[in-house]
């Protein structure tokens, strides 16, 4: 099954790693380097899953998540949140904002793949 994933990540190397990893599993991955215009891109691309970095230039991941949940069309869209800060407060905030799954960088490749598989299955 082909699924479409939107990855919003400002670190090019990390984005490249995730794109390669998930692409090999057959997912179609689109990368956005900033949070700018993320909501519009989601509306256009209609991804099955959004992988979202918490710390983004211009517009924070948490804000994008809130916007996704606020819109009727995307309120049930699975969102996987990534963070490098590793603070419990961030996880709580993300859960409160309605995140589907949460992973801390650096992540285990197989865990990432399993999480994506699970989320895509649920979608």
């Amino acid at each position: 099954m082909a699924g479409h994933i939107l990855l919003i990540e400002d670190e090019p190397n990390i984005a490249e790693a995730i794109r390669f990893l998930l692409g090999r599993d057959g997912w179609q991955v689109t990368v956005l380097a900033t949070g700018q215009g993320a909501i519009e891109q989601i509306a256009v691309l209609r991804p099955h899953l959004v992988i979202l970095d918490l710390m983004l230039p211009v517009c924070s991941g948490l804000q994008i998540l809130t916007d996704i949940r606020a819109a009727a069309a995307t309120k049930d869209l699975p969102v996987l949140m990534l963070t490098a800060k590793g603070q419990e407060r961030d996880r709580e905030a993300a859960v409160a904002a309605g995140v589907s799954a949460f992973m801390t960088k650096p992540f285990d490749n197989s865990e990432m793949r399993a999480a994506v598989r699970a989320l895509m299955g649920a979608a």
């Binding site: 190397n13 990390i14 211009v58 590793g86």
Partner: protein, 892 residues
């Protein structure tokens, strides 16, 4: 009895007094006031009311005017029986306000006015001088009586010389025991003990003579009573107006005479003593007067030609009773000396506190603040003692020894009575003002001087026949004024002087408004029994004086140990350690009262106000006083200060809390940032290395992923280096490598190092070699580090089409300014303030590598080099200015 024996007895008696006084003084200085607490000491010391005038003169008075002498005892008796009304209040005020004299009382009550103090002092000195002269005269006369009687026929050295010797001796005694130290409340234990002893001697002497006269000469009480009935004294009728006037004047005297005020108020150590004195003192007076009339009657019968004033002495002598005569002589001697000693101390205190010290303070205010005031005050006291006794002696010589003792005593009484309206008005009437007191006293004393005092320089005054010499040629008193022509001259003088005095006092008080200090003192005096009244405390508000200065001054006035313990106690009471309490108005008022005990209220007030830059009373005080809301103000002030205290504490706590919170937030943010900066490269490294270990990859992918891993590993290393560097720099534990370097060479090195910074692109560098010919003494490695950072930043972030970096150098004083200005967009205004903070990498700038620690490190480096780095706004591009000292100072 030989003259030598007489002189020897006198000297022995005086020596005994010295020993007694020294013993009491010694006991007191060891803290023992038991002698003074002995039940009869206080009433006995009050007996200095009975001077030589009453000892010798009462008999003469009785011989001339019958029972009228009793009035002199009746007045004080009435005052003491009614002690609850006036004396209790006076003693209380004296203790609370540490009053040192009657002049101090009036000055203090009427706004600490020194003019009033001077006036009362002058009145007291004027009125007392004849009185002191009288005592000298009585001692001289008693010597003369012995001389004329002696069988050896020795001639009395001239009277003036005897008086001078006596005055000299008294001056010595008074100086020795009256000015030993500056007790905080002018108490003289030695002197009080000595005069109490003298009181006992004079009572014993008079009683002994009386018993001898009644039982030895008169044939028993009933025989003497018959003799009295047989004389024309029996037909004598008391004159109501004279009796009233005399009782009034003697009652006034017991309150206002300087020596009476001194023993009664100033030397009082326990209010309970006053209650005991209220019966003991009248009893003493009763015993003193018991035998007056018998002695007068028997004496006039046996020695009709003798001077009736000396009958107490001449009667035993003529009967050959040498020992009894000796005792009588010592009794008279005691009466005279005790009066002179205490009167002199009281007057000297007034003169030094109200005339000498204020004058000195005014003339040499600087010196007054510096030198040892205690020594000065004592010197002023001693000088005053000699002056007072000198005046008495001079009056004695000028008046030529008036033959009538009682008349001189009465003149003094009436003079001092002029102070009475001010005293009574002051302690009972809040409306009394200083102006009123002044007018009343001046008017009263003027009438007194014209009617009684000035005529006393002329012929002897006969209290029963005054009038012939009363009105001098220049004095045209309307004797028939308001139909008072028939009035007795003494009554006349008392009546008119008191009428003028009281009228002007009341009118003056009603027509003037008291000043603020006066108002406050008035309340404090009139309401002295309302413990909580805080009127006096209002006098001082927080001023500019330093506690140290006050302590220094207090040490010089009340003594070093006393001042230090006073300050220490006050500080402890305020909950502080050390010796410097806060200058609350409570403390200042207390200090002022303590100092007032040594130098008088007006002087103490003047001295403290001098330290306070004369800011005596504030507008707030005026308003408070005008509204008479003294207690309310005090209470609200206390509340206010407590509230202010609470507010201050709360603010301090809140600030501390905010600071802690800010620090905690900063720490969390920093840890989050570090975590993020470390985890980001680790994420790429981990992900790609896992991919690589799985194998099964095309070769070009292996190379590509390997290169990413390598780059991210380098980034991680750089980050750790930067963090360590920053930590060292911030701790100040950085090791600087100071050397001399050429600025141009340093910039060359920095440019070379930064040229590898990606993105590699052509970059136009503008420099001026001539400007850069500067030699610096600094850590060149560190300075180059800062330059590299700035150049790399320009390379990374300058967004101009053809990037240009201009490096401008300028020397300014001991500093060199190096500006790095590129032609990019620059840094937005709202972010210029944060670029030097850690991890301040501007969020909307494309990632170029680096963790945002560069400028933070630059700032720390420059601080370590004794210079600064700052953003230069308004240069069109991004512009940084590095300011570095030509020579680094002491290594920071």
């Amino acid at each position: 009895m030989s003259f030598n024996l007489l002189v020897l007895s006198c000297l022995l008696y005086v020596a005994l007094l010295f020993v007694l006084a020294a013993w009491a003084e010694g006991r007191a200085s060891m803290g023992g006031t038991r002698i003074l607490r002995a039940p009869l000491i206080y009433p006995l010391s009050l007996s200095i009311y009975c001077t030589a005038w009453t000892f010798y003169g009462a008999v003469g008075y009785a011989a001339r005017s019958g029972l009228e002498f009793v009035t002199i005892y009746l007045g004080p008796t009435l005052v003491f029986i009614g002690w609850w009304v006036i004396l209790r209040k006076l003693v209380r005020i004296g203790r609370v306000h540490r009053v040192t004299s009657i002049a101090d009382l009036i000055s203090s009550r009427f706004g600490k006015s020194n003019l009033l103090g001077v006036t009362v002092t002058l009145i007291a000195v004027t009125a007392s001088t004849p009185y002191i002269a009288l005592q000298l005269q009585s001692v001289t006369q008693s010597f003369a009586v012995f001389a004329s009687d002696t069988p050896q026929g020795w001639a009395l050295p001239n009277g003036g010389a005897t008086a001078a010797w006596v005055a000299g001796g008294l001056a010595l005694f008074t100086i020795l025991f009256g000015t030993r130290n500056l007790a905080s409340n002018e108490q003289h234990h030695g002197i009080v003990t000595a005069i109490a002893f003298e009181a006992a001697v004079k009572l014993a002497a008079l009683l002994a003579v009386g018993i001898f006269v009644v039982w030895g000469l008169g044939g028993g009480p009933s025989a003497v009573a018959d003799k009295i009935a047989g004389l024309d004294l029996a037909s004598w009728r008391p004159d109501a107006s004279r009796w009233t006037a005399l009782i009034f004047v003697s009652a006034a005297a017991i309150i206002t005479l300087p020596r009476m005020f001194h023993v009664m108020v100033v030397e009082n150590i326990d209010s309970a003593h006053l209650a005991r004195a209220s019966w003991a003192f009248p009893a003493y007076l009763f015993l003193m007067s018991l035998f007056i009339l018998p002695i007068a009657v028997v004496g006039m019968e046996r020695l009709p030609a003798a001077n009736p004033d000396m009958l107490v002495l001449t009667l035993p002598l003529s009967e050959g009773q040498g020992a009894l005569a000796m005792l009588a002589f010592l009794g008279g001697f005691s009466s005279a000396t005790s009066m002179v000693i205490v009167e002199t101390i009281a007057l000297a205190t007034m003169i030094s506190n109200h005339i000498i010290m204020p004058a000195w303070l005014r003339l040499r205010p600087k010196a007054a603040m510096r030198s040892d005031l205690r020594a000065w005050v004592l010197r002023a006291r001693r000088l005053s003692i000699v002056a007072v006794l000198g005046l008495g002696l001079e009056y004695f010589r000028l008046s030529g020894g008036s033959s009538n003792l009682a008349a001189m005593g009465l003149i003094a009484f009436v003079g001092m009575a002029q102070v009475l309206p001010a005293v009574l008005g002051g302690i009972f009437w809040r409306g009394a003002t200083g102006v009123g007191a002044m007018l009343g006293m001046v008017a009263g004393i003027a009438v007194w001087a014209g009617l009684l005092f000035l005529p006393s320089f002329g012929a002897a005054i006969d209290p029963t026949g005054m009038g012939k010499d009363l009105f001098g040629p220049s004095w045209t008193w309307p004797a028939s004024f308001f139909g008072t022509a028939g009035m007795d001259p003494l009554v006349h003088a008392i009546f008119w002087s008191m009428l003028a005095n009281v009228t002007l006092f009341i009118l003056g008080s009603l027509l003037t408004f008291p000043g603020p200090v006066e108002r406050v003192q008035g309340a404090a005096f009139v309401n002295v029994f309302d413990q909580d009244i805080a009127a006096d405390r209002l006098g001082w508000v927080q001023g500019q004086a330093e506690p140290e200065a006050l302590l220094a001054m207090a040490q010089r006035i009340i003594g070093e140990d006393a001042a230090i313990s006073l300050f220490e106690e006050a500080a402890r009471a305020q909950g502080k350690g050390g010796f410097l309490p806060d200058l609350t108005s409570d403390f200042l008022s207390m200090l002022e009262r303590r100092m007032a005990g040594s130098v008088g209220a007006a002087t103490a007030h003047a001295m403290i106000s001098q330290l306070f830059g004369r800011a005596m009373v504030t507008v707030e005080d005026l308003m408070a006083v005008a509204n008479e809301t003294v207690q309310i103000l005090e209470y609200s002030t206390r509340l206010e200060s407590q509230q202010a205290e609470v507010t201050r504490t709360a603010r301090a706590l809140r600030e501390a809390n905010e600071k802690l919170t800010a620090i905690s937030v900063q720490k969390d943010a920093f840890l989050g940032q570090i975590s993020h900066e470390l985890r980001t490269p680790m994420t790429s490294i981990r992900a790609f290395s896992e991919i690589l270990t799985e194998g099964d990859l095309p070769a070009e992918k292996v190379v590509e992923f390997g290169a990413v891993i390598h780059a991210e590993a380098l980034r991680l290393t750089r980050l750790l280096d930067d963090l360590l560097d920053l930590s060292v720099l911030e701790n100040g534990s950085v090791q600087l490598n100071i050397g001399t370097a050429n600025l141009g060479a340093l910039i060359d090195r920095a440019l070379a190092a930064a040229s590898q910074t990606r993105p590699e692109r052509s970059f136009d560098i503008q420099r001026s070699a001539a400007q850069e010919e500067i030699y610096l003494r600094t850590d060149e490695g560190r300075l180059v580090q800062v330059f590299i950072n700035l150049i790399s930043n320009a390379r990374k972030y300058c967004d101009a089409q053809n990037p240009v970096l201009r490096i401008a150098v300028r020397q300014k004083g001991a500093k060199v300014l190096v500006d790095f200005i590129d032609n990019g967009a620059g840094i937005p205004k709202d972010q210029q303030g944060i670029i030097f903070e850690k991890f301040a990498r501007l969020s909307d700038t494309a990632t170029v590598g680096g963790a945002g620690l560069g400028l933070a490190i630059c700032r720390e480096v420059m601080a370590n080099l004794g210079g600064t780095i700052s953003y230069l706004p308004g240069q069109k591009g991004a512009a940084f200015r590095v300011s570095v000292p030509l020579r680094i100072g002491r290594a920071p």
